[in-house]
Structure formats: C-alpha cells, structure tokens
C-alpha cells in the first residue's frame, strides 16, 4: 500500500480515535516509519484529536493535588528507606504471572492425584455396577421363568391327581376307541362313570386338526348318534376332558367336525370308535 492509500484508507483516523485493532496499529506504525507523508498526516490528525480532547477539559477537585503529592511523598520516603514495593514494576506487560508458593504446588499436585484416582475408581465402580446389574437382570429373568414353569408343573400335577381320582373310581368304565380304517394309528379313550354317568375323554393319539376344526365325541344310543360335545387336542389340552353325561350308550365314536361341532356326525371323518 502506498502513502496516499494509507492516508485515504481511514486507518489514521481509526488509530487516533482508538478504534484501530492491534493489527491495524502495528501496520500504521510501520507505515509511519516508512513514509514521511503518512507520519506527517498522522501527527496532524493526532493533534486535532487532542485538541478535541482538550476542549473537554474539566478542572479536577482542588483536594486531589494534595492527595496526589502526599501519596508521592509517602512513596518516595519508602523508596529512600528501601521499603517501597514497586506496584508498577511491569505495568505494560499484559500477561500477569501468578506466583504460586511451594506448598500450594504440593496441594495442587495432591488434588490432581486425588482427582485422577477418583476418576479411575469411578470408572471401575461403574464397570462393576454394570456387570452386577446385568447379572441381576439375568437372575430376575430366570427366576420369573422358573416361577412360570413351577406353575405349569403344579397345574399338571393337580390335573394328574384329578385324572387319577377319575380313573381310580371303582365305578369308572374304560372304553378304548381304536382307529378306524382310514386312520389306523388313531387312538382315544372314554372314561364313563357308571354311577354319576359322567363322561371323560382322553386323547391318546389324534392328529392336530386345522384351527377351523374340532373333534366331537358321539355316544351311540339305540343305534342313533348323540352329541357329547367337542374337545381340545394338543399340548394345551387337559389330559382328561369332561364331556356331556349319558345314561346309556352302546358305543362311543369321534369325528372331525367344523369348530363348535355339528348336529350330525360326518361319518367319513370318523377317526376312532369303540364298543362298550
């Protein structure tokens, strides 16, 4: 940048008004050293700025000069006695050095070690906590599933006991129903209490029907089929399922019907049948 462009750039005005950044100040100081015209323009501008400042002079309070000279006397006396502490030893050094005593250095070092130790301990504890939490959660899960299994076993045991009571009843008649010709491996059993006339069916082996179908038990009374109700198959089904009661029957048979049962048996879907 030439001298003229420095003068017209506004940097001199920014400098004398205190607006210039530190970079701009350095730049102008170099230009002042380099170009006499810039230096002259700067001096002239600076004097005008100072005139503006002088225009705004205000007489300070009269007591201030006394206070000032007293402070100066005190300071000079102290200086002569060698007791003066130079408070302005480095007034233009912006960076302030803070001196730290040896004891505080040790305190700081100890604090840092404590902090580092604390961080490490926290980390270890947190890891352990996470470990324990995972184990605890696994235990809770397995405990819950064990409780559920226990319930299943208890229910099955109770059913088995009931079944045993049914079977052990001396008035209970067992009617085996082997598979018919189309379904030779099928097998089911009817337990018929001759006193109470209650009827129970036990599935020994019947294929699992589709969800829209159910097996239906029939009693043959006087050569005609009588509906005894539908029953469930599969793992969720009770081993012994209570059906409708019947006084007399010559025969029991099971057919596969639509869900909920049919009023008349579908004969070609007869799986098992057994004579009394």
């Amino acid at each position: 940048m030439g001298a003229t462009s420095y003068i017209s750039s506004g940097i001199i005005e920014a400098y004398v008004s205190g607006l210039a950044s530190s970079i701009e100040r350095e730049e102008l100081e170099l230009a002042i050293a380099q170009y006499p015209e810039v230096a002259a323009e700067y001096r002239s501008c600076q004097q005008d700025m100072e005139q503006y400042i002088i225009f705004q002079s205000v007489t300070p309070p009269a007591t201030l000069k006394e206070k000032l000279l007293l402070q100066l006397d005190t300071e000079e006396t102290a200086r002569a006695n060698g007791t003066y502490v130079d408070v302005d030893a480095a007034p233009e050094t912006p960076a302030r050095k803070i001196l730290v005593s040896g004891a505080w250095r040790w305190v700081a070092a100890a604090s840092f070690l404590l902090l580092a130790g604390s961080v490490l301990l926290n980390y270890t504890q947190f890891t352990r906590y996470n470990d324990m939490r995972q184990k605890y959660e696994a235990l809770v899960t397995s405990n819950t599933s064990m409780a559920a299994e226990t319930n299943v076993y208890r229910t099955r045991l109770e059913q088995a006991e009931q079944n045993l009571h049914i079977v052990q009843d001396p008035s209970m008649k067992t009617v085996k129903m082997p598979g018919t010709k189309p379904f030779p491996t099928a097998l089911a059993t009817v337990y018929w209490n001759q006193t109470s006339k209650e009827v129970f069916v036990m599935v020994n082996n019947l294929p699992q029907p589709t969800s829209d179908k159910q097996y239906q038990l029939w009693a043959i009374v006087d050569g005609k089929p009588v509906d005894m109700g539908v029953f469930e198959t599969g793992t969720d089904a009770k081993v012994m399922q209570k059906m409708k009661s019947v006084d007399n029957a010559e025969m029991f048979a099971v057919t596969l019907e639509k869900k909920g049962g049919s009023p008349e048996p579908t004969l070609d879907q007869m799986y098992v049948a057994g004579k009394i």
């Binding site: 920014a14 607006l19 002088i54 705004q56 007489t59 300071e75």
Partner: protein, 183 residues
C-alpha cells in the same frame, strides 16, 4: 493556577526523569484538566475519575523512564495512559454495553453543562466545533475514544454495517478537523 514560568517539553521530560517534584507539580497544573476531562468522560463519575487521575499521575511519575520521545509527544503518552487506565477501570466495574451507550446518550445533552471553568479551555471554540458536528459524528468518536468500543460494538450500537464503521469514523474526524481550522 498556571505557573508563572513555563517549561519546554524536553525540560519537562528531563525534570520528571530527574524526579523533580516541582516539575511534577507544574505538570499536574498544566495537564490535569485535560486528563481529568478524559477520565470523567470515560467513567461518568467524579469520585471514580478522581481516583483514576491520581493513579494516572502516579504512573507518570513512576514510569517516566519508559516514555520514548521518538514515538510521540509527552502529552500523547499521558493521554494514552489516562485513557487506558480509565477504560480498564470502566471494564473492571463490569459496565455493560448498554451502560456505555446510556452514558454517551446522557452526555450528548449535558456536554456543555458538565464543564467546569478552566482558563485554558476555549469554550467558544468547543461549542463552535460541537455544534457543527452531527450527533452521530460525536457519538462515533466518543464511543471509540472515551468508551473504548471496538468496531464490532460500534456497528451494533449505531446499527450500521461493520464495513462502514471506519468510513464513518474517517468522515467524522475529517469534519472535526475542518471545524478546528475555523476556530
């Protein structure tokens, strides 16, 4: 209040470097109104400005050996010390941006009323200059010089683009200098 005799600038500097208290006393009489004017404009408080001025003169007394004649006049050096000390005080008192603006806004209306009489001050010249400067021109100069505002701060306060702050400042000072030629 002015001394019966005067010192040249180089005599002043030599006297101060020699720790001559008479020279110091003369320096105070000669320059304290201008420097107090700066402190008062920056701080807007007589008590703070008095403390500031006392500190400034002690700095001048202690640090005269740091003054470099080749870098500028003694008055310029003293003005810089005063401005820096006062602005440091202003900042340490945690004045906020709006406080700075408030101060300037108040000053605009009280400019002439605030001035105490000093024989060396040409009030006629002052009022002539100030009347011809627009309010905005005075404010931009005063924000920078007396409040130590940066270009960014001035851009925000006066709601003008950052890029035009320097141009506005240049125009304001050119206007100031033209007016000074007429005084």
């Amino acid at each position: 209040m002015e001394s019966a005799f005067t010192y040249t600038e180089s005599e002043l500097i030599q006297g101060l470097k020699a720790k001559d208290q008479k020279v110091f006393s003369y320096l105070y009489d000669r320059y304290s109104p201008a420097l107090y004017g700066v402190a008062l404009k920056v701080l807007n408080d007589e008590s703070n400005a008095s403390d500031c001025l006392q500190e400034v003169f002690m700095k001048i007394w202690r640090n005269i050996d740091r003054y470099d004649e080749s870098k500028g006049r003694l008055f310029t050096w003293m003005l810089n010390i005063t401005r820096n000390t006062a602005i440091d005080t202003l900042r340490s008192k945690a004045h906020k941006m709006d406080q700075k603006i408030q101060d300037i806004g108040d000053d605009v209306h009280l400019y002439t009323g605030n001035l105490a009489v000093h024989p060396s001050v040409d009030h006629l010249g002052l009022s002539k200059v100030l009347e011809k400067l627009t309010k905005e021109q005075r404010i931009i100069i005063d924000l920078a010089y007396y409040k130590g505002c940066t270009q960014e701060e001035i851009s925000k306060v006066l709601e003008i683009p950052l890029g035009t702050v320097k141009t506005r400042m240049r125009n304001a000072i050119i206007q100031l200098r033209n007016l000074l030629k007429l005084v």
